[in-house]
């Protein structure tokens, strides 16, 4: 049930029988699976997760210290749902969509108190509603009847609820008017008796309907060279970033949230650090959306269920996030959802499951782990919506494998589903090679279907240039094995030169400093030009070598090291042009 609704639908009270951490059993509760209930004298919010005879088991979304047997449990008769409507952007929620800023005010404390509730969207705030249909128009399910300006960046489309009509059915608009309304007021009336308001509810564990899933053919451009250049993700695609602690999962997710060319960002901090969410809350209002210069927060919805917040709400935060994402997708937007970290989500499942004394699967995770992961990533995709628009949800999940070992169940089950794999590497992170994405292990299965876009929008030999870089890097990997045994000087000259080229690829192209004001975002044009600069060096250097110039002299030139500074150049076009000719001039002067 959603908190926007009153709790008058209460069915029948039960009585607590036992309490063990977040898991509470109640007697005599008339409830269905996944109903939302209020537990104990303080009315802590919980959800029914098991029913056995007369005993109903509830996971509680708040701390249960002091709660004891005999206290009441009250059923709302509604499944766990989110409030959908304008006001979800520029907001920060906990795992069950309680707005954290509102809670701070209500609790009058910086600490999260118990038993305090608040609706997911402001029920009193008035929005300027602008109809997009007229009286007499026919509308079907999901159709847009009007818009409100939710933030400077995003027009929020007000839609006919998908369950108001059958598939293919239409009905006439009988009343609609522009004006100022709060989200509970009716903004349009339909002939079939539906009153459309700006507010909808949706049960979080159920995907919102669509017409069909399509093959994604546009990249989610991230401004991160190694991602766009080597391992791109599609709009509507799925990606996993596994890596040990401190290897760069969160920084990569933050970079995507800042610079990805999505319309909407849903950022789910699932069981991670409080300060990381604070950082987003403090930075995003100040940072500019690269697409339009507006504050980044204007396209962002945050869900923060940090590691010390109740574990049951950690289990639900992923669903809250993806449901919000689907709602904006239905409006025809491209949404990108980041979940940091899906491992904490899986652990929450494991913790609840073990309290239920379910039969454990691999490493104690419940047997349904793989199914839950698949269901989540399946909700991503490039879709034709029920209202005929197209929209996408891209899902990017961080994975935190114990001991950094990718053979564990969460990583393995995730890799079976997602199509992009960005493998973080502790060795690279240790030497501060960032982003520490291992180029040998990572892959993107979208590459081929995205190449046409890059060829059309950036340069027609995009794919060839990428292949050139990949080949050099592969060769380097092989050569490094020899170098480890005999030293670099024992290699033939041409191989030494290849190593030098590969070094530029690694240090200038693959490395990118997220904290440098310019380098942090690299448009695909720059990514491309950077590669061609390194290729220029490669070609000129090999020409020089062939002309008899000793490899030491080639390596010891002055122009080439400037390749390492392309990343930080704002006016990179001019810089690159100069640099290419400087490299050529200098190397040619050697013979």
């Amino acid at each position: 049930m959603s908190k926007a609704e009153s709790t008058e639908t209460t069915v029948e009270d039960g009585v607590i029988q036992s309490v063990s951490g977040p898991v509470v059993s109640a007697r005599d509760l008339d409830a269905r699976m996944n109903d939302v209930v209020y537990v104990g004298d303080e009315g802590l919010m919980g959800e029914v997760i098991e029913i056995e005879g007369n005993i109903t088991t509830v996971q509680v979304y708040e701390e249960t210290s002091g709660v004891g047997p005999g206290e009441p449990v009250e059923n709302t008769g509604e499944p766990l749902s989110v409030d959908l409507g304008p006001g979800m952007l520029d907001a920060i929620y906990d795992g069950v969509q309680r707005p954290l800023d509102v809670l701070e005010g209500k609790m009058e404390s910086p600490y999260l108190d118990r038993g305090v509730d608040a609706p997911g969207i402001d029920l009193e705030k008035e929005w300027e509603f602008e109809p997009t249909v007229e009286v007499g128009d026919e509308v079907g399910r999901g159709d847009v009847v009007g818009v409100v300006e939710e933030t400077v960046t995003i027009d929020h489309k007000v839609m006919v609820p998908p369950d108001a009509l059958e598939e293919g059915e239409t009905t006439e608009v009988t009343a609609i008017e522009a004006g100022s309304f709060d989200v509970t007021e009716t903004v349009a009336e339909l002939a079939n008796g539906t009153d459309v308001s700006m507010h909808q509810e949706w049960p979080v564990r159920e995907a919102r309907p669509t017409v069909e899933k399509r093959t994604p053919r546009q990249p989610l451009v991230s401004g991160q060279r190694i991602l766009d250049g080597l391992f791109p993700i599609a709009k509507g695609g799925t990606a996993a970033i596994p890596g040990p602690f401190g290897s760069g999962k969160t920084v990569t997710q933050h970079q995507l949230a800042k610079y990805a060319d999505a319309d909407i960002i849903v950022y789910v901090g699932c069981g991670e650090r409080g300060n990381e969410m604070t950082e987003v809350i403090e930075d995003f209002p100040e940072l500019e959306d690269p697409a339009n210069g507006n504050p980044l927060m204007a396209r962002t919805s945050l869900i923060a269920n940090t590691s010390n917040m109740p574990v049951a709400a950690r289990e639900s935060c992923i669903y809250t996030g993806i449901t919000i994402a689907e709602y904006y997708r239905d409006m025809g937007y491209d949404v990108a959802l980041m979940a940091d970290s899906t491992s904490r989500w899986a652990e929450a499942m494991r913790e609840i499951s073990s309290r239920l004394e379910e039969m454990p699967g691999e490493e104690g995770y419940p047997a349904y782990l793989a199914a839950r992961l698949a269901q989540f990533y399946e909700r991503a995709g490039y879709f034709e919506n029920v209202n005929g628009t197209e929209g996408s949800v891209s899902a990017i999940g961080a994975v935190s494998p114990p001991g950094g070992d990718f053979s564990e169940p969460v990583t393995q089950n995730t890799l079976r589903i997602v199509k992009t794999f960005w493998a973080l590497d502790a060795d690279l992170a240790e030497r501060r090679h960032f982003p520490s994405i291992n180029w040998n292990e990572s892959y993107s299965l979208y590459k081929d279907q995205l190449d046409p876009w890059f060829e059309e929008h950036v340069e027609e030999d995009w794919a060839e240039k990428r292949q050139w870089a990949v080949d050099i890097l592969d060769e380097e990997t092989e050569l490094q094995e020899i170098v480890q045994l005999v030293g670099k000087d024992a290699l033939p000259d041409d191989q030494q030169l290849t190593l030098e080229v590969a070094r530029y690829l690694r240090e200038a192209y693959l490395q990118q400093n997220a904290f440098h004001p310019v380098d942090t975002f690299c448009p695909p044009e720059k990514t491309y030009l950077m590669l061609t600069t390194i290729e220029t060096f490669h070609d000129e250097a090999f020409d020089a070598l062939e002309a008899g110039v000793p490899v030491e002299d080639i390596v010891d030139t002055e122009a080439a090291p400037r390749i390492n500074r392309i990343g930080v150049q704002e006016d990179y076009e001019e810089y690159i042009e100069d640099l290419k000719s400087a490299i050529a001039d200098e190397l040619r002067s050697l013979y």
């Binding site: 063990s20 210290s65 910086p110 999260l112 590691s307 494991r350 670099k488 000087d489």
Partner: protein, 475 residues
């Protein structure tokens, strides 16, 4: 308050008793043995008619005649500013023979989570005077930065050095505001360490006069293991009180987190829970997070809680669940390295796997120095390069390496000998640390410094040093 003589089962640290009233989860329990000894415990599971109680002092001495009293409240820590200067046991009772503590408030030790919306992002540089930290892995106020060590290593010395030297360089302008309200306090929580180790800390505190501004909680190796699950919560409740209600900048040292985790495992095993990795409970991540996340700053409050937990990695293996889960929660880590220790480096910090995640916002112009970020990136890269080459040089010899490679090797040597090995009693300010860094990177040719902005190279690079190096290596 009702008394029960209804114990039905005793198993490890757990006692089961029958009850005929509702008992709250987490509630505090007193058990009086037939010998008249009073033990304390906490409700771990509450069902109709029966409760499971975890006894802090262990269950020896308890039999079915023992009487059980439920105090009707969860565990509280009596807090007051007067705690400063006091030594308490692991459950917060004074053991220094001082006067009784008159609390100003009694606070729940299971602290509620800080609303992420109410936090303030930590970005105030703490100068520890240790180059390996200040220069390479900077600590900021409100950070949680553990020391990853192993048995027999001088992690205590490092922690003491930090506690002794830590200060915040004054900024012009806002010093009045900071001077009045915010004082510095240390809270030391010992969990299962030896008397000897504890003495080292106590002597250092007394010698430097730090005890006056410290609160010490002692659970020693021969104290009850289960009590260790309470000690850090007592510590952090006191820390939060001093920081967020009394405006102190509190540095919390918790040692040894490994003993804390062992106690968790023991309780889990006694409850016959399905164990997670290597026998530790599946909820250990959440449990540890509930401690470590109690570091930070809060918007509108003066004080801060900075945590330096110390843990000894079993088998010096950082993939062991204790360091692994810790690393996933804390904002970086400092590695104490046995190899560097046996080479005599003080402190033997290996900067490469060490990390401070809050560094990036805590350094730079106006905080430390504008060139700091670039310089440390370059030092990391150069040291990593030198480290790699050491393996190779063992095989092929120095002659087979290029000039530049030899410089990297020299860099790595001097970096350890001069930058890291400063001694436990040397206090270097940030300028000294950074200047020393420049002296070292100036061993490398300018165009190898690709992590540093050209402007800074212009300003700080020691021209002659590199010339000299070239001359030296030529002969």
């Amino acid at each position: 308050m009702k008394e029960y003589q209804t114990i039905t089962e005793i198993s490890g640290p757990l006692v089961y008793a029958e009850v005929d009233e509702a008992i709250g989860y987490d509630e505090i329990v007193e058990i009086e043995t037939a010998q008249g000894e009073t033990l304390r415990g906490q409700v771990l599971e509450s069902s109709e008619g029966v409760v499971a109680i975890q006894v802090f002092e262990g269950t020896s001495g308890i039999d079915q005649n023992a009487s059980v009293r439920f105090l009707g409240e969860t565990m509280k820590m009596p807090v007051t500013e007067d705690l400063l200067g006091r030594v308490l046991d692991g459950s917060g009772r004074p053991i220094d023979g001082g006067p009784e503590i008159v609390p100003e408030e009694r606070q729940d030790i299971v602290g509620a989570a800080i609303n992420p919306y109410s936090r303030e992002y930590p970005e105030e540089f703490i100068e520890t005077g240790v180059s390996a930290i200040d220069g390479m892995n900077t600590l900021v106020r409100g950070q949680k930065l553990p020391i990853f060590s192993s048995s027999g290593q001088p992690h205590s010395e490092l922690a003491m050095q930090i506690a002794r030297q830590a200060s915040v360089p004054e900024e012009e302008g806002d010093d009045e505001e900071d001077e009045e309200g915010s004082e510095f306090a240390v809270i030391f929580g010992a969990m299962g360490i030896t008397q000897e180790e504890a003495n080292e800390f106590m002597e250092d505190f007394e010698r430097t006069g730090a005890l006056e501004r410290s609160v010490v909680f002692m659970n020693l190796a021969d104290d009850p293991a289960v009590e260790r699950t309470v000690t850090p919560r007592m510590v952090l409740t006191t820390a939060e009180y001093l920081a967020f209600e009394k405006d102190y900048h509190v540095l919390v040292i918790l040692t040894d987190m490994t003993n804390y985790c062992e106690a968790l495992r023991e309780i889990g095993a006694a409850r016959e829970e399905v164990p997670g990795r290597r026998g530790y409970p599946g909820y250990m991540y959440t449990d540890l997070a509930q401690l470590y996340e109690r570091a930070g700053r809060i918007e509108g409050r003066e004080g801060s809680v900075t945590q330096i937990p110390i843990l000894t990695m079993p088998g010096d293996d950082d993939t062991h669940p204790i360091p692994d889960l810790t690393g996933y929660i804390t904002e970086g880590q400092i590695y104490v390295d046995p190899d560097l220790n046996s080479q005599g480096l003080q402190p033997p910090v290996n900067v490469l796997p060490s990390l401070s995640r809050l560094m990036d916002d805590g350094i730079g112009e106006g905080l430390t120095r504008a060139d700091h970020a670039d310089l440390k990136d370059q030092m990391f890269a150069a040291y990593a390069e030198g480290e790699d080459l050491r393996d190779l040089v063992n095989i092929v010899g120095r002659e087979a390496l290029s000039d530049l490679d030899n410089k990297y090797l020299d860099f790595a040597d001097r970096f350890e000998a001069e930058f890291i090995d400063q001694g436990f009693d040397t206090n270097r300010d940030i300028e000294e640390t950074l200047d020393l860094g420049w002296e070292l990177v100036s061993m490398l040719p300018k165009d190898a410094l690709n992590r540093i902005d050209e402007e800074f190279i212009e300003e700080y690079y020691h021209e002659d040093d590199s010339e000299q190096q070239v001359v030296e290596s030529a002969d």
